[in-house]
């Protein structure tokens, strides 16, 4: 853990400027995809998660632009608004299950997105919002932190995301999290045992949406602009891809998917000179990875861990060191 913490602190200093920018987006996207996984724990896959992220982004941006809210406060408000919108959506959506829920989530998300487009006031219409306030700089004596710089924003986003991941982890490991699993795998049995399945699905949806909203707010105050296309179904496909390629049976699966695919798409393929062929190569690699790793990248880690645990001790190990 200490090694990981040191690596996360040192990481941006070993990267180029553009890679630092990508690192900021990566950290934000990790929160997005892990929050998405929380929802999938109950067995429902949504196509509206990115739009919910947008709700957080728009709310936070509007609160700072129009009402002069302090940015960190508006970010929290953005998360709360995303959770609230999810709560409202849960009434019609959780009358559906499975494929119908998937389509329903897509339709409701599109309605929200089209409202952003339709109403120039206050959402800015198709052009969206720009000149969104960034995180205010910090000047304390000789210390000056400019959050326009990717490294500074990375540390801020990293702290926020790590706290969120810890909360998400605790939720999953709590009784509530176990009930989410039960709702997914044994919903009839859970219902027979007195579990209000719909309530737990709603809870997962609302919690996941709150964290997605926070990721949207983090993004909006970094780029300084958002528009309805920033949260369209194409972006949702990327989130699904990260989750599927990484795997969703472990907490770290989607994180792995997000990291590996982002590095591949944004750094490796660009640096290798395949800039214009990236969609083609990215698609091909996805097909290959699904063929070779149907359980996602997390299955590699699981196998490696299993092998490591079952490996015999080295022959020259002293007898007394053995358990």
């Amino acid at each position: 853990m200490i090694l990981i913490a040191v690596a996360l602190v040192v990481l941006p200093h070993g990267l180029s400027f553009s890679q630092q920018e990508i690192l900021v987006y990566l950290v934000i996207n990790i929160l997005l995809v892990v929050s998405y996984r929380l929802m999938t724990l109950t067995g429902e896959w949504s196509l509206g998660h990115v739009v919910i992220m947008g709700v957080g982004a728009y709310t936070s941006a509007l609160l700072t632009k129009r009402l002069g809210f302090y940015v960190p406060v508006s970010m929290i408000m953005g998360a709360l608004m995303a959770a609230f919108v999810a709560f409202l959506l849960s009434f019609p959506l959780f009358r559906m299950k499975g494929f119908y829920f998937l389509i329903g989530s897509f339709a409701s998300a599109e309605i929200i997105r089209l409202l952003w487009k339709r109403f120039r006031e206050p959402f800015g219409g198709p052009k969206g919002l720009k000149r969104i306030d960034g995180l205010p700089n910090i000047d304390i004596g000789p210390i000056h932190i400019d959050f326009f710089e990717p490294t500074a924003y990375y540390y801020f986003a990293l702290i926020v995301v790590l706290v969120c991941l810890w909360v998400l982890w605790r939720i999953e490991k709590s009784l509530v999290g176990l009930t989410f699993h039960a709702v997914h795998w044994q919903d009839k049995l859970a219902q027979a045992s007195g579990v209000d399945v719909r309530r737990y699905r709603t809870l997962a949806f609302v919690l996941a949406s709150g964290f997605a909203g926070l990721s949207g707010a983090l993004l909006a105050h970094y780029i300084g602009t958002i528009n309805p296309n920033s949260f369209d179904v194409e972006v949702m496909v990327f989130v699904l891809t990260w989750a599927i390629v990484g795997g969703t049976s472990t907490f770290y699966g989607p994180i792995l998917g997000c990291i590996v695919l982002t590095i591949l798409n944004e750094i490796v393929l660009r640096e290798l000179g395949f800039e214009q062929m990236r969609p083609l190569i990215y698609g091909a690699i996805m097909i290959v990875s699904i063929l070779f790793m149907p359980d996602g990248l997390e299955s590699l880690v699981k196998r490696a861990l299993a092998r490591w645990k079952s490996a015999p001790p080295p022959p020259n190990q002293p007898e007394e060191a053995k358990p």
Binding site: G14, L15, S16, F17, S18, Q19, E21, I22, Y25, K65, L114, K117, R120, P122, G124, G125, P126, K127, G128, L129, K130, R131, G134, F148, P150, L219, I223, G224, T225, I226, N227, N229, S230, D232, V233, I263, L264, E266, I267, V268, R270, E271, L272, E275, Q276, R278, P279, F292, M293, L300
Partner: protein, 435 residues
């Protein structure tokens, strides 16, 4: 060896290990210090930050291809002369996928890692992501979409096209040459590109005395089925159907639908990229008389006196040889911007952004591709950073685009400017209305 044995023969662990090592080495290589800024002093790097993949790639990729030809020609002719020293020019591209976040990353890379002296963009949705970078670094940027201009950013210029204002020339020519056409309808995608163009066409139609039969039909950019759109457009039996500034992904299916639903009237559009493919999908007769705004550069009119784009016919021939069937609206535009930049840099004796910008704007005039033009735009964009002069009206005749006239945008604006401002204002497109 059959496919199965090939797959089996390739060890999964080996394969994944190789991919991982490959990725790791590549990533490490990308971040090695010194690599990015190690530049030849006699090479001027120019950034090209536009969509090269995705739905809007048609307005990025052909421009980069055109720039490569431009660079080869300029370098072969001795390069760019800065203070008596010849410099070669090299383009560094970054695919922003029409995404503001990626555009910001790209701008950062081009400025801080590649050391470019000037960045050309398509603009639009991607500009707000780059704007803070421009303001922090003072880098000179160009956009093809002057609706990005505002007094807030003084290092952004629109020297190639004043989209969508030049669309007025097509309507003006239509009214002069086909006065019997009196009614029109219009459709456009509901986005940052479509709406200012809608306002412009509405002003142009009103100025030309052409009646709009219906409100402009705004469709969602995600639309793929254009049959209902076209049915509604045709329902009022208009003389003219205007396709506004639709992406080629919309213009083509709309034209196909118009053909299939038996439309016989006039079509006017901002662009007709890859119109040969449209003719294949419809017919030569159907496309006859189609009016748009972007000439093929093999047109003899492009070699006429007053045209500043050098060797336009030869440029088109070279482009067509290298990239057959890919000539589009932007194939020449970024190269034309480079002509202006080169002239300004040579005048300034410097490639530094502020010096080049000062030289460019110096006397309020510039050598636009289609003739001498004025730096203009305070009314609409809040800053005189758009180069405006003549613009061609192009008509498809016998399956080929022909320039029918070069018409003056300032002359139209002098007469009908208030009308344009009114519609721009109605659609929230004035610079001070942007949120």
């Amino acid at each position: 060896m059959n496919l199965k044995s090939m797959i089996t023969g390739l060890s999964r662990r080996g394969f994944l290990g190789s991919v991982a090592s490959f990725a790791g080495v590549s990533t490490l290589g990308a971040s090695l210090p010194g690599r990015a800024l190690a530049a030849d002093d006699n090479v001027i790097k120019i950034g090209f930050l536009a969509p090269l993949t995705g739905a809007v790639a048609a307005w990025g990729k052909p421009g980069l291809d055109g720039c490569q030809i431009w660079a080869e020609w300029v370098n072969k002719a001795g390069g760019i002369n800065i203070d008596g020293t010849a410099h070669t020019v090299e383009f560094v591209s970054y695919d922003n996928e029409y995404d503001p976040a990626k555009a910001r990353t790209g701008a950062t890379k081009l400025i801080r890692e590649d050391g470019v002296k000037f960045i050309m963009m398509l603009g639009g949705d991607t500009w707000p992501g780059v704007m803070p970078v421009a303001e922090q670094t003072g880098m000179l940027f160009s956009t093809l979409l002057p609706s990005d201009l505002s007094p807030d950013t003084t290092t952004l210029i629109a020297p190639a096209e004043v989209h969508p204002v030049y669309n007025v020339t097509g309507v003006e020519w239509l009214a002069e040459n086909k006065p019997e056409l009196k009614t029109a309808v219009m459709c456009a995608q509901d986005d940052a590109l479509g709406l200012p163009s809608v306002a412009t066409y509405l002003a142009a139609f009103e100025a030309a005395g052409i009646e709009m039969l219906d409100e402009p039909l705004l469709f969602d950019p995600a639309t793929t089925d254009f049959a209902p759109v076209v049915t509604r457009l045709m329902s009022g039996n208009p003389d003219i159907i205007c396709l506004d500034t639709c992406y080629s992904d919309y213009v083509h299916p709309i034209c196909e639908q118009l053909f299939q639903q038996g439309y016989k009237g006039q079509i006017i559009s901002c662009t007709a990229d890859f119109y040969d493919q449209m003719i294949e999908k419809t017919s030569k007769e159907f496309m006859e008389g189609f009016i748009f705004q972007f000439p093929d550069f093999d047109d003899p009119a492009m070699e006429a006196e007053g045209i500043n784009f050098k060797h336009a016919n030869a440029f088109y021939a070279e482009y067509a040889k290298r990239f057959p069937g890919q000539w589009g609206a932007v194939s020449w535009e970024y190269a034309a911007v480079m002509d202006l930049w080169k002239a300004a840099a040579e005048t300034a004796g410097s490639t530094e952004p502020d010096a080049v910008l000062t030289a460019m704007l110096d006397d309020g005039k510039g050598m636009h591709a289609f003739g001498e033009a004025d730096w203009w735009g305070k009314d609409l964009f809040g800053i005189d950073h758009a180069l405006v002069g003549n613009w061609p009206v192009v008509v498809i005749e016998d399956g080929k685009a022909h320039v029918k006239a070069l018409k003056s945008i300032p002359a139209w604006y002098d007469k009908h400017g208030e009308l344009l401002k009114k519609y721009m204002s109605d659609y929230g497109q004035m610079w001070n209305q942007r949120t």
